[in-house]
Symmetry: D2
Subunit: 132 residues, 4 copies
């Protein structure tokens, strides 16, 4: 299983605000795209997981904003599976524009069934990540 994914992001006009930079709420949207690509690179996809009644709900989000991103910038998002417990998954994010780090982030997701109850993280997500 691949434990890191690189996603190219082109900043959309609608994602920018009157300061002329990407709004801070765009970053967790990009992080979510990174998780989609990380799952895909491990041979599954999140749409299929939901059809099987497995849902990943964000329970914790932390973002640090170091330098602004601007409209039409091409960014690279590095998403990694930091750790995986029985029912929770932790991801880390680094967002770069060329050599500059624009932002770092961290999410914890809880694994839920179709009734919103905690359930074990499927093996295909877990890979060989150490316990969270």
């Amino acid at each position: 299983m691949c434990m890191t994914a690189e996603t190219e992001i082109r900043v959309r006009y609608v994602e920018c605000d009157p300061m002329g930079v990407a709004h801070h709420t765009s970053y967790p949207v990009w992080f979510e795209m990174g998780r989609t690509e990380l799952l895909r690179s491990s041979g599954t996809d999140y749409a299929a997981l939901e059809r099987d009644g497995v849902f990943l709900a964000v329970v914790s989000l932390d973002v640090r904003y170091l330098k602004p991103a601007r409209y039409d910038d091409v960014l690279t998002l590095h998403t990694s599976l930091a750790s995986c417990g029985r029912v929770k998954v932790e991801h880390h994010y680094v967002l770069r524009r060329g050599g500059d780090t624009l932002s770092t982030g961290r999410t914890v997701l809880a694994c839920l069934d179709a009734n919103g109850q905690l359930r074990a993280v499927p093996d295909m997500i877990r890979g060989d990540a150490s316990e969270a």
Copy 2:
């Protein structure tokens, strides 16, 4: 049944773009809020409809933008049920800031069941609107 609803909208910072005005995709979001309030004023609510397996899907959207809205502006949206056919509903919208009309719009929604198939519009939505 009430055939018109007035909704107060305060423009959010995130809804504005680098031109310093509300992005054009914010307007149909507000129109959707207007439909929610119009349904509520008729004694039902859309959340309950979906729980009963009735879905309203937008099949047509038209917006005219006359004057820009800005961050923190307080706007008034007038939403009206223009006509109602067997399986489709047409709404009209006028967005004002004081005496100024900023935008007008029109949507057509199709009524679907839980399988995405067309079904008759429930009477509680229909009211006494003429045929579409």
Copy 3:
């Protein structure tokens, strides 16, 4: 100058709604991405235009929704410059998933200066499009 651009869109989770399909306000966001790519393929870019004091403001938007798009779908957006007048530009859009047409759209943009006043559309946008 290239008068048509093809843009690949992967539907984001955040763009989907409780019906499990892409929300209707996501489509005009994608159309805006199509315009960005059409400008780029003509050898300029919109960020540079804004730095030069040229702004393109949407004055009219029409969208028809034919079939739903879903999370993680890969779509192809065809954006074309339909016509270009002295101060306004009209674009047409066709959104496809494989052989299926999911949506068609049309926008009219007005060309503004830094003070929000109408100004002539720059030649680099105009290309050889016929008068609007």
Copy 4:
């Protein structure tokens, strides 16, 4: 100066995702609305600050998600100024639905001038908050 603001939030349909709950990126949008109201209750407004060349940029965001919010829920957001340093401001957030706490959050904003350089936080924002 008022150091806490209460903001009523009605969850929009577009803010909800295929899980049927408010998407996690909606919460920092609501936090931003809370900051707008907190400023207003202190007798100023952020739009006026920006016109005066004072910008508040989010440099850190933390959110904990405890219970989901759903479409059309009416929530109450409590926004408070936790501390204020020379160039940075820290806010805390508690989001409630009735007696239930759905989420807590924290942001740190840096005060910037029109050139994006750090500058002192204006007194009208500072109030009597202790040093950050």
